[in-house]
Symmetry: C2
Subunit: 446 residues, 2 copies
């Protein structure tokens, strides 16, 4: 299928009028007790537009939410912003009143450095929980990075690196598409490797029908030169996140800091969508491009998940409702026994049907089909049909679950509810990485 | 505090009129493809009373429930039974119509061997999912064990061994108490090490208020010579299970086979409780003894959990409701990040408050207290009070989480809801054990 967009270089600075950059300002050392070294990863970044932007955002629905999230929710509600300041190494979560003051001070210092009001600056943090930010270092970092912002691929790469915590590699993308004949660009960077099962909403409030048990810190920052008002931008971002970041799980733990922000500065010069339910080919291309960018970044998070060896796309069909399909897919995707069997390359359907049975979705044993395919979903090899093992050979089933990425197909045979969850195996490396370092007196949080 | 009962030897054959025994009949080899060896673990057991018993039982609420569970639900509803036949190595789950025929055939063969109607025989299975029982071996085992039933401690030990799967040691207990001056005895055996988060009810149906996400195979068989009708026995067992087996989690996975059965043969000669709401000192002692026996066996399951290094009692107080307290405790007890930090001996409160925040319980950050104590709950060392780190030193907090068993105290400060969950750490050994053996062509289920 021909997509209405094409990949380009430049990530978040590909769209016109965006500059970015990242520096090392010693937050990680202060936050984690680990020594500063030459070649230390960057830990503070700024993304800024040369003109004011429409803004859209989604935030963790964890009731314990970090100070920067609280600050952003207010700004996004206002619909306009022009810059984002973000640090890694310290989540500024569970930091009380001082935490909120520090988050606001970050927006103020960034505004001062860029000649913007504090209210035009969004803020995000990721790292240790429960440790106050080292503000002298943060302020020095903001001054340093604001002097070196630029629009080269290297500037984007610095930004992608600055937001990494346990990530092993930077994650970025950009695409270009046409809107009424005018080239429009959309770019993004993200981070996330553990504490990953985001469940984000626009206000941080949990919608009544929100799947329970949603749970990492993931941060994603998106930029576009499309012209579009925030009232039209927000629902399109919500839909894109619902199909991407809110559909991934590494360990089933939802972070206090999950944040997705999208800045649209309008410099592409396309005609702004108008009316309550705008439509049109240009807008549809934008929607498709945004869905693609979000899903690409979300999958990069799962692939780079802590200790992850295998990535499994869990596709449930035939549930009574979409919510039941989601519950069924998440029960399988978060089952310790299913995840360890994926790690072992074991096509164990018993653990899968067991997890389906204890999910909140309705399951009828003799209607359940379970099968495997390569990414793309063609030529499914069924291991279970209507609750009974098929004649597929064990060797063939093992071959189906041996690749580093495969799809798990589950058909419940009860209705039209569908859901997809992008999941990962559970490995000794995950346990080893997360068992913590008791020799480290700053490891109390995060 | 003086308890109204005392520990005695003999486990399930301590009560008068009970006999038991276990044999090796090759189910495990057939079920798992592993070779039979000298010294192979026993895999089939019978527990029988010399006279008919009142019966009570609770079963998995997993919608995918094994054939023996379906058979037992019907018998327990009738209120009377006289024997239990149980095998390990094969769960007889997801085995379709043949599975149900096989479970019924086990009750019939046992009845025939013991001179009882099939309807007086309860049946349970644990092991691989999705493989039909090797019935010739099962029948031979039933004949063999029914010839060697006895009432010695060795017979009880054989039974405890026969029901083990990934368990590393047998689990048993017995107590004696007085009822109107008459000595009454209560004994039990159980198994369970992985796929452990039982959520059992009397009919296998999930009560509306049942905590979602409940999830091992655990089997427990209890015997008593108390005289008590099944209508009085069932609610007392339900209460005991609600405070014990339904409060443990090893990996958060609920099995298809979880079963607790209690046989009461009346040979102690105590006066039977009468009326709709019976009371009295004897009955209260029975209740206390049953609660003790169930909790002792439940804790033995967690301690022997797959790869478990540390056992943590998670105590939540001050939730808005008991159900919210339960949800908060289970979110913490099943968080991969919290469990790996326990493994590492890391007193990480950030991951704990994060899990509380994404639970379905209401949490207010600046009201949350988190602390640690030795088993027994005295001298709690608080690491967090009202959402803020205390002055407890990192060394002291590390010392508090270093023992192989400790208590985690969480106060939410919002109401009077309380809940306790008996949980375990997540270790590399758990992952290694469960990643499966792809060289084993019979490992498709379980």
């Amino acid at each position: 299928m021909k997509t209405p967009f094409r990949s380009i270089e430049g990530s978040i600075v590909a769209p016109r009028g965006f500059r970015a950059g990242g520096v090392f300002c010693d937050i990680k050392r202060i936050g984690t007790g680990k020594g500063s070294e030459k070649g230390q990863k960057r830990d503070l970044a700024i993304i800024a537009s040369v003109v004011p932007c429409s803004v859209a955002g989604l935030f963790t629905t964890n009731q314990i939410c970090a100070a920067p999230v609280k600050v952003c929710v207010d700004i996004v509600r206002g619909g306009s912003a022009q810059a984002i300041v973000v640090n890694s190494g310290n989540a500024n979560a569970c930091t009380g009143r001082q935490g909120l003051l520090d988050a606001r001070a970050m927006t103020k210092a960034t505004g001062a450095a860029l000649g913007l009001p504090a209210e035009a600056v969004l803020v995000a943090s990721t790292g240790r929980i429960g440790v106050n930010l080292p503000m002298p270092q943060v302020r020095a970092g903001i001054r340093a990075v604001s002097d070196v912002l630029g629009s080269s691929a290297d500037h984007a790469a610095q930004t992608a690196e600055s937001i990494m915590t346990s990530d092993t590699r930077p994650k970025q993308i950009a695409v270009e598409f046409l809107w009424d004949g005018l080239p429009v660009r959309l770019g993004g960077v993200c981070k996330g490797a553990g504490m990953i099962q985001p469940g984000m909403s626009a206000t941080g409030a949990r919608p009544p029908a929100f799947p329970s048990g949603l749970h990492a810190t993931m941060l994603a920052f998106l930029t576009t030169d499309a012209a579009i008002d925030s009232s039209h931008l927000q629902p399109i971002l919500e839909e894109a996140v619902a199909l991407s970041f809110n559909r991934i799980t590494v360990d089933g733990d939802m972070s206090t800091n999950d944040t997705v922000l999208l800045l649209a500065n309008g410099l592409a010069g396309n005609p702004k969508p108008r009316g309550r339910k705008p439509s049109g080919k240009g807008l549809e291309s934008f929607r498709a491009a945004l869905n693609h960018v979000c899903l690409d970044l979300a999958k990069k998070i799962v692939r780079d998940g802590e200790g992850v060896h295998r990535v499994v796309t869990v596709k449930v069909e035939g549930a009574r409702t979409s919510l039941e399909a989601d519950a069924a897919a998440r029960a399988v995707a978060n089952s310790a026994l299913v995840k360890t069997s994926w790690h072992g390359g074991d096509p164990n359907w018993g653990r899968i049907i067991d997890a389906l049975g204890y999910s909140s979705a309705t399951i009828v044993e003799n209607k359940v089909d379970i099968g495997y395919s390569a990414p793309g979903g063609r030529n499914v090899l069924w291991s279970l049909k209507r609750g009974q093992p098929t004649r597929a050979t064990f060797a063939d089933l093992c071959a189906a679950v041996a690749p580093s990425e495969f799809e798990l197909h589950i058909r419940l045979g009860l209705g039209r509810g569908k859901a997809t969850i992008y999941a990962a195996d559970l490995t000794e490396a995950y346990v080893d990485f997360n068992k913590g370092n008791v020799a480290d007196p700053k490891s109390l949080g995060g």
